[in-house]
């Protein structure tokens, strides 16, 4: 039994190594003679072999050993890096990942999968000398040395029931078989199992049927059973490869891989641990030290308190507050992870997708080292993957179409991450065909998402794709999946307190911009009052506040209200109407308009008054409420009251929905 912490360490290390392995292989694909890339791949496989062998993950050790044989041939230039080799190595890394996941969850990967993958790789290792066999891999040796001449046998055996009494263990028989070849499948024959009351615990009732792949003669299989005697209970028949062993009555048994824990309770669960740079921890330790020193100074001053020392005390407390604030920031920083951890998976994804679709796609990334909160990283991975898939699948055109359009045959997907004014932005852009405004509009009319006949601005038309149930893909593509579309992406991003927007130009491409809060944990807020309730607005989204006047506040037909501000018409939302509370003043001209902005769109919120600004800790409402439009979370204020944190993007959407549909613009509108 491997200790949990060691097993977890193994899973982490193996995950890193497999990333190295895959990146190295992708490098090799670009530069097939890169010694450096080959060394990287080789070292990853080698280290993984060592670690897995040490911990007794023999399937991983054996398979990496096999890969080493192949990689050695590449190193010795007995084999060249071909498309086939790259493809094989990538599939091999997928299999290894499954094996590592299996190791983590205490679940076995079918032996056939490994055997098949090895068999598929033999074309590249034929005639190769295997690298030095590690102790963990002896069983693989005969198979490797005699590759290509393996036969599959179905071996049925029902041991005499006094086997245990004679001091023999039926499991040893399976070990013996394994020394002859590879056990692909073992099935237990329970047909002779008596009722519980009749069972004698010292007798053997089970038989087994197994599939064995070996290059040895039948006699060496028979020899395994010599100690037991009773050949009459043994049958050995050749089986066609791939044919099941045919014992319909048994239950499948996975020998030696009994789950050591409940499935679904991963030990190395990704949320369990993560690595933090030593520098970050050092800084934290220093800071805590400084706070401790200041605290003891405060204590001294207080012990010998005289009125003249109060000023000194005040200074110390200011310093402590500064330290605490910094400590908070640093502790948050510990949770920050570079977005590279997400971006890093896309080269492979794009490569595979492009290959499957017959497209030629480049990937460019920038801002890989932009850091995001770890929990954001985890939750943003799926939405980003969806956007990238869409870009390759729907955005980028096939090479011939691109050429006809006068573009380069290969398309480009750009991933960019950057930080700006308290938010993280992630862009997923392609230089493909762009969104089809007419088709989206037609569909939006049909589904009533846009009033039939109305023709709003591009950004409003495109925003429709984020609405639930909207999909224009005429053919449900195998690659982008079915049904689950941009609305899910939108919802997931909204749940993170972020927002998504899209820009597109026909023939030039599409750009999705995801905005995420820097941290999920806290924000600088502006408290405000509406009737008896207090709400908090993110400070960064407030542009200004003013009192509406008779000459700039207007109510148009249909009851919608707007505020004219320096030539711009802003939709107005009375916050008390959104939340159904009674305001102190119902007259807009006596209330306060707070202008908020998100993604270049503005909205005037009518509130009673502004209160203080303060940093608030965000509490999620997800656990207890469905997503509520306009609400991003809740917080506890300094005086102990609970306040809702307003979601500006959601409020703006609400504000626009309450506007009557814009008339079709006339050519001479201005």
């Amino acid at each position: 039994m491997i200790p949990d912490d060691l097993q977890q360490l193994f899973v982490e290390e193996a995950t890193d190594l497999l990333r190295d392995f895959e990146e190295g292989v992708l490098e090799l694909e670009q530069a097939s003679d890169s010694v450096e890339a080959l060394n990287r791949v080789f070292r990853a496989a080698h280290t993984l072999k060592g670690a897995s062998g040490m911990l007794g993950f023999t399937d991983i050790a054996r398979f990496t050993h096999f890969l080493e044989t192949l990689l050695l041939r590449l190193r010795k230039r007995e084999l060249t890096v071909s498309v086939g080799v790259v493809e094989y190595l990538l599939r091999a890394s997928d299999l290894l990942r499954r094996l590592v996941d299996g190791a983590r969850e205490g679940r076995a990967v079918p032996a056939d999968d490994v055997a098949d993958m090895e068999a598929a790789g033999r074309v590249y290792t034929r005639g190769a000398t295997p690298p030095d066999a590690p102790g963990a891999a002896p069983a693989a040796e005969p198979a490797l040395a005699e590759a290509g001449r393996e036969t599959h046998y179905v071996v049925r055996f029902h041991p005499p029931d006094d086997l245990l009494l004679r001091g023999l263990d039926p499991l040893r028989l399976l070990d013996a078989l394994e020394s002859v070849g590879t056990l692909l499948e073992v099935e237990v024959d329970t047909s002779r199992l008596p009722a519980l009351a009749d069972m004698d615990p010292e007798r053997t009732y089970f038989g087994f049927t197994c599939r064995l792949a070996t290059a040895r003669p039948v006699a060496s299989i028979e020899a395994c059973f010599d100690v037991v005697g009773g050949r009459e209970a043994l049958t050995i028949e050749p089986a066609a490869a791939g044919e099941p062993s045919g014992a319909g009555r048994g239950v499948p048994a996975h020998r030696g891989s009994l789950p050591s824990r409940e499935p679904g309770a991963p030990i190395g669960g990704e949320a369990a641990t993560f690595r933090v740079s030593a520098a970050k921890v050092d800084r934290l330790v220093n800071l805590v030290g400084e706070i401790a020193v200041t605290q003891s100074m405060v204590e001294q001053v207080v012990t010998a308190a005289t009125p003249d020392r109060l000023i000194r005390l005040e200074g110390l407390i200011t310093e402590m507050r500064r330290h605490c604030r910094e400590l908070e920031e640093r502790v948050m920083a510990v949770r920050m992870v570079p977005i590279q951890t997400v971006f890093g998976r896309f080269p492979r994804l794009i490569r595979d997708l492009a290959a499957a679709l017959g497209k030629d796609v480049w990937l460019e990334t920038s801002g890989d080292d932009t850091e995001l909160d770890r929990s954001v990283i985890e939750q943003i991975t799926d939405p980003l993957t969806h956007l990238v898939r869409n870009a390759v699948d729907h955005g980028i055109e096939p090479p011939d179409v691109r050429r006809q359009a006068g573009k380069g045959a290969s398309g480009c997907v750009t991933l960019a991450a950057y930080q700006r004014s308290g938010s993280i932005y992630i862009e997923v852009a392609d230089d493909g065909r762009g969104l089809d405004r007419d088709r989206i509009l037609a569909k939006a009319w049909e589904t009533g998402l846009i009033a039939a006949g109305a023709s709003p601005a591009d950004e409003d038309v495109f925003a429709v794709i984020f609405q639930p149930g909207f999909s224009t893909a005429a053919v449900v593509s195998e690659i982008s999946g079915r049904g689950v579309g941009m609305d899910v992406v939108n919802r997931n991003i909204r749940r993170l307190g972020g927002a998504i927007s899209v820009q597109s130009a026909p023939g030039r491409g599409t750009r999705f911009t995801v905005r995420l809060p820097l941290t999920l944990a806290s924000l600088d807020g502006q408290a405000l009052r509406v009737g008896p309730e207090t709400y908090v607005l993110p400070l960064g989204s407030i542009v200004e506040s003013l009192r509406p006047r008779r000459d700039n506040f207007q109510t148009v037909l249909g009851g919608a209200e707007s505020l004219m501000l320096r030539g711009e018409v802003l939709p107005v939302l009375r916050l008390h109407r959104v939340f159904g509370v009674t305001p102190a003043v119902d007259d807009p001209l006596r209330s306060l308009a707070v202008i908020v902005e998100h993604d270049g769109r503005r909205l005037a919120l009518l509130v009673d008054e502004l209160l203080e600004q303060q940093q608030v800790v965000i509490k999620s409402l997800d656990a207890n409420f469905h997503a509520v439009d306009g609400v991003g979370g809740a917080t506890i204020l300094g005086d102990g009251r609970v306040a809702l944190i307003l979601d500006v993007a959601g409020l703006i959407a609400l504000g626009r929905m309450r506007q009557p549909p814009r008339p079709v613009p006339h050519g001479a509108a201005r």
Binding site: G50, M54, D132
Partner: protein, 127 residues
């Protein structure tokens, strides 16, 4: 004063395994991730024994052994090579480089403890 041992190994799993095997014997264990880091650390750590992997980034284990053998104050420090490499050619190369011993991974923790104790005893006797 417990003997100071420098463990050079790029695999965290393997470092942990060595630590688990040797820690109960009360050694003062120091760890580095490749030959280059180890070589930089040797003057300050001043180990009584070095245990090194072979296949590592930056500087491999055999180059490390060769480099140690040229460092005047440390040239007699015993170096155990702990590796998956079990071929005779590699072992010969290791001996030629100046390695004291060769242990093949996966290793038996008790065997490692024994070898380490033996090497350190021999060194103490020589002094």
């Amino acid at each position: 004063m417990s003997a100071r041992i420098l463990v050079v190994e790029d695999s965290r799993v393997m470092r942990q395994m060595v630590r688990t095997a040797l820690e109960p014997d009360g050694y003062d264990l120091h760890e580095r991730e490749d030959g280059r880091q180890a070589l930089d650390a040797i003057p300050s750590v001043a180990p009584a024994l070095v245990i090194t992997d072979v296949n590592m980034p930056e500087m491999d284990g055999l180059s490390l052994v060769r480099a140690i053998r040229t460092l005047a104050p440390f040239r007699f420090v015993p170096v155990l090579v702990l590796t998956t490499e079990s071929g005779d050619d590699m072992k010969r190369a290791g001996r030629a480089a100046g390695a004291t011993g060769w242990i093949v991974k996966p290793f038996d923790p008790n065997q490692l403890r024994e070898v380490v104790a033996r090497v350190l005893r021999a060194r103490a006797a020589r002094r």
